[in-house]
Assembly symmetry: C2
Amino acid sequence: MNWWHMDETHDPALTSWVPDADGHADFPIQNLPFGVFSPADGRPRIGVAIGPMILDLAACAQAGLLPSATAGLCTAHTLNGLMAAPAQARVDLRRRLSQLLSQPGERASLESWLYPADGCRLHLPATIGDYSDFYVGIHHANNVGRQFRPDNPLLPNYRYVPIGYHGRASSIRPSGEPLVRPAGQRKPPEATEPVFGPTARLDYELELGVWIGEGNPLGTPIPIDRAGAHVAGMCLLNDWSARDLQAWEYQPLGPFLAKNFHSTISPWVITREALAPFRIAQPPRPADDPAPLPYLLDPDDQAHGALAIMLEVLLTSAAMREAGMAPLRLSRGPASNMYWTVGQIVTHHASNGCNLNPGDLLGTGTISAATRDGFGSLMELSVGGKEPVALPTGETRTFLEDGDEITLRASAAADGFVPIGFGECRARVLPAP
Amino acid sequence: MNWWHMDETHDPALTSWVPDADGHADFPIQNLPFGVFSPADGRPRIGVAIGPMILDLAACAQAGLLPSATAGLCTAHTLNGLMAAPAQARVDLRRRLSQLLSQPGERASLESWLYPADGCRLHLPATIGDYSDFYVGIHHANNVGRQFRPDNPLLPNYRYVPIGYHGRASSIRPSGEPLVRPAGQRKPPEATEPVFGPTARLDYELELGVWIGEGNPLGTPIPIDRAGAHVAGMCLLNDWSARDLQAWEYQPLGPFLAKNFHSTISPWVITREALAPFRIAQPPRPADDPAPLPYLLDPDDQAHGALAIMLEVLLTSAAMREAGMAPLRLSRGPASNMYWTVGQIVTHHASNGCNLNPGDLLGTGTISAATRDGFGSLMELSVGGKEPVALPTGETRTFLEDGDEITLRASAAADGFVPIGFGECRARVLPAP
């Protein structure tokens, strides 16, 4: 069972009896992402998003409507069990859900288990054992590197190593939960000593998240031609960053407190089954770049390992909100700006025998385009704080102010298929205490 | 309830009816560390080490012998619940165990729940949510820095920031479990391109581990005068490192695959109650060094925040083992070579609001002495591979060979108190697959 599994659930002619599901920007019946939600008066449970509604999978399982191999896993309070399930079992569950939500005859039995998403609380979909973040957005690496090393922005290892590092699992939060502006040490360029206080350079980072499904035992690498089978799905990830803390602390062991105060993810797991129609060829490397080392090179991964996903970042300041203005789009660009594929980062991560577990989360790193309209952070858009971004209120931003809200969105599209979206990854900045 | 809690459990005159407990190098009755063990024929359960034996706390709890506030927590399969318990509840449990194991009248009822440690398997004591590693061994930082920057070994942030980074929780293993030599990318100095294969520079790192007890909510820092209350106990930590992978991958985001293939910890949690008699003053900083910033500075932490613990590293090669030779001591030095206290690293970690949880593990970073006899890694002892270390077989080592076994040991001592030890942190290197 490979990532490429295509079946009747991807049929563009498929429609749902759920009102407003057909044509829904994020969650038409061809998507069927999994998540964990609470209705207004209820406890957390597993659900699937369909249009503006959420179907309670625990109720479906208890009513005997789901395949026996996964019904028990659907009554859990996290998706870890489903993520660990064999791929065939997840495919069978998806096909069953596609039937239930498309066949009008099922409406009467399911309708009472549908909840309007607007009235529900979305939780983290899984218990995240370990969270690792990569750096595969080559334009981001170039843009950031250029601010430090104008003539030589990319370090020598970049084109060989899918650079990554470990992040903090405990402070990952679902969309909607506000973040508190963090304090920390920063050293103003003209100062002789650092000061401690709230960050003055709070930034967002536009990333994709990768949910690990099947794990690998410690000491056992994952071959590149099997990497896709270890991916359960994807989400959006905002890797909030305090740039002044980062600049002062990061040598020699990398970012720490500049990143681990809060990370926001979109709460729906867009499954690799749902993403199958949107795989595309990895863009060819520039002629001067080395080929990936053999352990990272697989013809199928090169031919189909990238994803046709468009990403965008929206900002709403407090003043914009009060004036009833629409969010300002700060950037928009394709996920094909990733220098390494999802398969390559999974294989690299396990290449030393490091064990990945179901529910682990990998971040891609900031995905920027080559041009300013696709830059994935304010550090890039404002060129390190030197070129303010104009807001429709007349305000400007170099970095984020209290009350600012950042929303990440993504959608996958391919000729002949119904586009699907990731839902929102959104959070507002609260002042330092 | 602060770290300084001293009571009758620390009385040097206290003795145990358990054979060979009195005078035991690691686990006299004044220690009473907690762990999770399986008898030869049984399932994992919580126990306390006493001399060469382990007392089954689940059995004691079920028999109604333990205080009601913690009895239920003692029947769990990990220590996370006990670590999260209020400090007073843990103190009460310790006092009860001290009574049970010292009063000869208790022997008849407890004897059947004592297991020889030699016949038991020790597990990880807790489910580790997040693992962070620091860099507080200033001589280690100097030694390593000197290999790259002879004139300026310490970076400008070192004396202000307790430098740390996130590590991998999934690959932490208890003492005794062998590690597999990892593969990875390394770039020989004379080569134009990196190669992929087993590391040629496998090293150990001598560290202390800090177990977090009570956590802090996201967004809420831990003041330095409360840091001790968030520490449940300590252990030994071997942060196995592949130096050739590390040199090639670590810029700009820090070590990743060079470290996350395996970390070994000693399985007994030496509680902060047990360590109370061994607190000492933090050594004064050199006159030219800046004072810690106010958020890291507390008079009590400066006066009593260091620990009188001696650390040592032992090596046994396969040839030494076959010849029946004793392990070779590679180094020995005091934990007071930490530039920052345990309280300072806890407070710094949470200073941006990052939430720590019960069962999280913090590593101190390699603790080296100023002189060669106390260097905590082979990279330091062999000066980056240039000066081989002689073994009693006539073999030499610059880095570790397959079959080598590294054992870390530690003991705390203070005038007027019975010394206590940490038990072994030991693992053997298996060849790459």
